[in-house]
Symmetry: none
Subunit: 197 residues, 4 copies
C-alpha cells in the first residue's frame, strides 16, 4: 500500500492514474536531465502535459512527488532482491549474491542519474521513518543472503557489504560505466574479499 500517506486522493479513474504516472515520469526526466535545481512543479506539470492543478490533486506538494519516486525505487529494489533470492537454491551463496547484485546493478545503471538524483534527494526529505524501515528491510534481506555463506555474519558485516556495494555501484554510475557484468564481477570480488579476510 504505497499510496495514501503522501497522496491527496487515489486516482480512481484510468485517466487519473495516467495523470499520476505522467507526473512521476516527467519528474524523473527533469531530475535526470536538468537536475534537482530545475525540478519545479510548473515544469513538471508542463512536461507531464497536465496542469499544475492536476498535479496538486494527487500530490500535496513537491516533496510528495520526490517521495513517491523514492518509494517506487525502493519497492523495485526490495522486490527485485526478493525475487533474486527466491530464484536461487538456498545453499548456493555465490549464485545468490550474483543474482542479487545483478538486480541491483541493473536498477542503478539502467537510469544511473535518476538513481543518483534520488539518492541525494533522500537526504533532504523527511521520510525518516520510511527510510529506516527500508534500510532495515534491505539489511534483513542481505543478512539473510549472507547467512547462506560459510562466513560468520554480524550486523556490522552486513552493513559493510551494503556500503561496499553501494559505493562501487554509485561510483560506476557516476563514471558512466555500462558494463554491468564487469561491474558485478568486481563487486563480488570486493564483497568476497571482505568476507573472507
Amino acid at each position: 500500500m504505497t499510496q495514501a500517506i503522501n497522496k491527496r486522493k487515489s486516482p480512481r479513474q484510468e485517466r487519473a492514474q495516467a495523470t499520476v504516472a505522467f507526473i512521476l515520469e516527467a519528474s524523473a526526466h527533469i531530475l535526470v536531465e536538468r537536475g534537482h535545481g530545475a525540478l519545479n512543479t510548473n515544469q513538471i506539470a508542463m512536461r507531464a502535459g497536465v496542469s499544475v492543478g492536476s498535479l496538486y490533486q494527487y500530490f500535496p506538494n513537491k516533496e510528495a512527488i520526490m517521495t513517491e519516486l523514492i518509494r517506487q525505487k525502493r519497492e523495485r529494489m526490495l522486490t527485485g532482491v526478493d525475487m533474486a533470492l527466491a530464484d536461487t537454491e538456498a545453499d548456493l551463496f555465490e549464485a545468490a549474491l550474483n543474482a542479487v547484485l545483478e538486480v541491483i546493478i541493473q536498477l542503478h545503471l539502467h537510469w544511473p542519474n535518476l538513481a543518483l538524483a534520488l539518492d541525494q534527494a533522500e537526504a533532504f526529505l523527511p521520510l525518516n521513518d520510511e527510510t529506516i524501515q527500508f534500510k532495515d528491510a534491505l539489511k534483513a534481506k542481505i543478512e539473510h543472503l549472507l547467512c547462506r555463506s560459510e562466513f560468520t555474519v554480524s550486523e556490522q558485516t552486513t552493513q559493510d557489504v551494503i556500503a561496499i556495494s553501494k559505493g562501487m555501484i554509485e561510483h560506476a554510475g557516476l563514471a558512466g560505466e555500462t558494463d554491468e557484468v564487469a561491474l558485478r564481477r568486481r563487486v563480488i570480488r570486493a564483497v568476497m574479499g571482505y568476507l573472507s579476510n
Copy 2:
C-alpha cells in the same frame, strides 16, 4: 593554492580575510544544522555577522561560497593524503594505507554532516573541470600508494579502492559511527580483501 578565479578580490587585509572565514564558517554551520534548503545568502550573512552586501564583496554569488567550501575540503584531503604518504616509509604498504585512511576518515567523521552535505553539493555545482582535476589528483595519489603494494594495480583497481573506501566512510558518517579506529580497520580489511582476491 586557493585560486582567485571565482573570487571578486583576494582579501589582503586581515579584516577581509576574517570576513571570508566567517562567511564560510556560517555556511558550513547552516549546511550542517539545517541542510541545503535552509542555506541562503541572507541567512549566511546574518549568521556570519556581516551584511549581505559584504558577502557579495567577497563572493560573486551563492555558488561561489559552496564552491569555496568544497575546494577547502578537497585541499585538506589532498594535503592530508600527501602528508600521510610522506610520513611513511616507501616500502611499507599497509602502514601507508593505514595512514592515508586515518587522515581521510578523520576529515569525514570530524564533521560528518558537512562532509555529506558538501558531497551532495558537488553533484549540483558546475565545477566539473576542477572536479575532474581533483579526482585525477586523488586517483594519482592512491595509485601511487597502491603501487607500493605487491599487487598488480590497474586504473580500475584504483577506482575500486576509492569507491569501496568512500562508500564505507560515507555510510559510517550517515550511520553516526564515531569509532574511527574500528572503521579504519574494516576499510582496510575490505581494501586488502579486494586487492588480494
Copy 3:
C-alpha cells in the same frame, strides 16, 4: 418566496431539493466551524455528499450559495417578526416588542456563529438591491411596531431602535451569551429607555 433569479433551475424533484438543502447545510456548517476562509466549493460539495458538478447544477457560483443562505436568514427573520406582530394585540406595545425581540434573539442565538458569519458576508456580497429591500421591509415592520407605542416615532427613531437591538444581540452572540430571557429584558430596557427619554 425564495426567488429563482440566481438559481439555475428550480428543483422540482425531491432529490434535487434535498441536494440543495444539503449544500446549504454544508455551507452553514463550514462557515460556523471553520470560518469564511475555509468555505470553498469543493469542500462544500464534499461535505454535502455531492459532487462539485452537482453543486454547479443548482448554484451558478459560490456567491449564490452565500446569497441563498442570507436570503433564508432574512426570510426567517421577516416572517418571524410578522408572526410575532400578528400574535399580539394591536394595542399592547410592550407585549409586541417582547414577542418580536424573542423571535429575533432566538434566530441569532440559536446558531450565533452562523448569524455572525452571514452578517459579515452581507458586507461583501453585491446583493445591494435585495439588501435595501430587506432593510426597508424590516424598518417598516419595526416602525409599525413602534407606532403602537405612545411615543413619537420618526424614521431616525426606528433606525436607532434597530441599531441598538442589533448591537446588543450581536454583542451577546459574540460573547457566547445563552440566556435569551435576560438578554431580551436588557434590550427592552435599552429600547424603552431610548424611546422614553
Copy 4:
C-alpha cells in the same frame, strides 16, 4: 511596544519606516475602496509604490498587515478615550460621556469604511489574545467612566453600554451618516435611557 510580535524586523532607517507607512496606508485604501476581497499583497505593494519583497521584509504575511492596522485603530481608540477622560472633571459624568463618544465617533466616521472593514477583519484574524486584552482595557475604561455617574454599574451594564454605542455608531457608518453631533446626541440619549431605567 506595538511592534515586534507580528513584524519581521523593525525598520531602522527612515526610508524603511516610510515603506511600512506606505504599505499600511495602501492597505487601508484598498480595503476602503474595493473591500476585503480585493486586498492582496501584490496590489498592496503596487499601490504603496514598493515591491512585494519589501512588503515581506516588514510583514511576515498578509494577515500581519491587517493585524497592524487593527492594532493602530485600537491604540488610537484607547488613547483617545484616555485623553477624553483626562480632559474632563472627575465629577461631571455627562460631560465625560460626551467627550468619550466624541472621540469614538470621530474615529469611526472619519473613515467609516475602514472602521467597518477592520471590524469585520477582526473576526477572521487569530489575534484573540490581543483582542481580549483590548476589550478588557476598553471595558475597564468605560466602567471607570460609568462609575462617575450616579447609577449602579455592573459588568453587564458596561457591556451593554458598549454594545449599544457600537451598534449605533456602526449603523450610522453603514448608513453614511456624517452629522457627528446629532449621532452623539442620540447615542447619549440611548445610553442615558438605558442607565436610568
